[in-house]
């Protein structure tokens, strides 16, 4: 709906007036106008909304609870807990999930929240990194992300992120897989319509890690991205691949301003 509107706009003779906007649209397909952006929460069934809103009914809170225990538990050769450096997560971790992925100068590339946690594990705690999608990593990232609940997504204005951001945008708009689809064809052009029985969301990562009823567990954004990539019948990248981080970076920019809901509940 929005995409069609936009197309007719720049086909119209008045396009000169919209010159700047049109250039932006051409270079980046039909991005969803800021005013029309909405979290997947808006389209949830009432039952699922209630489940997410009530912390004693939201199963994601089980992971948050475990994450809090991990936050306070000493680990590794350094025998240090997260709290020994970062103190009370409620104060120090507020807003952190809203600004990740962020640039890591040592690695020279952006890293997401899970990778940041594992860097702390290996470099500060001298403990082995948690495996992707392990209960521990999901719990700790759910606990940290929860501290940003309600904060607007605010990707860092860091020039060093620019090439990675552009790579993410390119990936989002690149056709791939046996079905020859790009992410944008569903999530920019056809959001709000249905793919079989399911509503196509705008794909804003507002609540990760989140509890998906289909998974019956909490999963990370990378797990969700793999789902989509497999759905396009393309080969998914390995967990932790820089391609995911670039894509996450673009998705967070696309969702800028929307509030963090972690841990969200989705069908």
């Amino acid at each position: 709906m929005s995409a069609n509107l936009k197309r007719t706009q720049w086909l119209a003779p008045a396009a000169v007036l919209l010159g700047f906007a049109a250039i932006a649209v051409v270079s980046a397909r039909a991005e969803i106008p800021v005013a029309e952006r909405r979290s997947g929460y808006a389209d949830l069934a009432p039952d699922t909304k209630t489940m997410q809103d009530d912390d004693t009914a939201n199963p994601g809170m089980l992971w948050v609870q475990d994450g809090e225990a991990l936050w306070n538990a000493r680990s590794g050769a350094a025998d240090r807990a997260c709290t020994d450096c970062h103190n009370d997560a409620r104060a120090t971790m507020a807003g952190v999930a809203a600004r990740y992925p962020a640039f890591d100068s040592k690695l020279g590339r952006p890293i997401d929240l899970e990778q940041r946690i594992n860097l702390c594990r290996t470099e500060r705690q001298h403990a082995p990194a948690f495996a992707y999608e392990s209960k521990e990593l999901l719990s700790l990232s759910a606990f940290i992300a929860k501290q940003s609940r309600g904060e607007a997504i605010a990707p860092p204005a860091d020039e060093r992120l620019r090439p990675f951001f552009e790579a993410g945008r390119e990936q989002f708009n690149r056709r791939q897989g046996q079905l020859n689809l790009s992410c944008g064809q569903c999530h920019d052009d056809n959001w709000g319509k249905r793919l079989a029985g399911s509503l196509i969301p705008q794909a804003h990562p507002t609540g990760y890690p989140l509890y998906r009823l289909e998974w019956q567990a909490v999963g990370s954004l990378q797990r969700r991205l793999r789902n989509c990539i497999v759905g396009m019948r393309a080969e998914p990248y390995d967990y932790g691949a820089p391609e995911y981080v670039s894509l996450e970076l673009y998705l967070m920019w696309r969702a800028r301003g929307l509030p963090i809901e972690a841990p969200a509940v989705r069908p």
Binding site: D54, D55, T56, P59, L62, Q65, D66, A69
Partner: protein
């Protein structure tokens, strides 16, 4: 690790109907699935849930393989007197989890 989330009102008026909500972490493996190599995955579910109010049973449920992971229960009771409300989940492979909450009735 088995963790549970309990929601019981801290205070209630005598005779008031109060809502109790519980959520427990459990995989609820049905026993009907097979691994990628074709080996059946053994059943691992919670089979019963009991709630007692000052040692008097007020709610009991039997659980079966069709129930989703992390079972959630919500039920009501009449607040009669101050005391403790205790919860117990039992299941396959000797699974046992307990939790309790106190309520003040004025």
């Amino acid at each position: 690790m088995a963790s549970a989330l309990i929601n019981v009102p801290k205070k209630a008026k005598r005779g008031e109907v109060v809502e109790i909500k519980t959520l427990i972490s459990h995989i609820m493996e049905t026993g009907f699935r097979h691994s990628t190599t074709g080996v059946p995955i053994p059943r691992d579910i919670i089979t019963s849930f009991v709630c007692t109010y000052n040692n008097e049973e007020i709610f009991r449920a039997m659980l079966y393989p069709a129930i989703a992971a992390n079972p959630f229960f919500s039920f009501t009771t009449v607040a009669t007197e101050s005391g403790t409300i205790e919860f117990m989940w039992q299941g396959d492979n000797g699974f046992l989890a307990t939790a309790s909450a106190s309520i003040i009735v004025e």
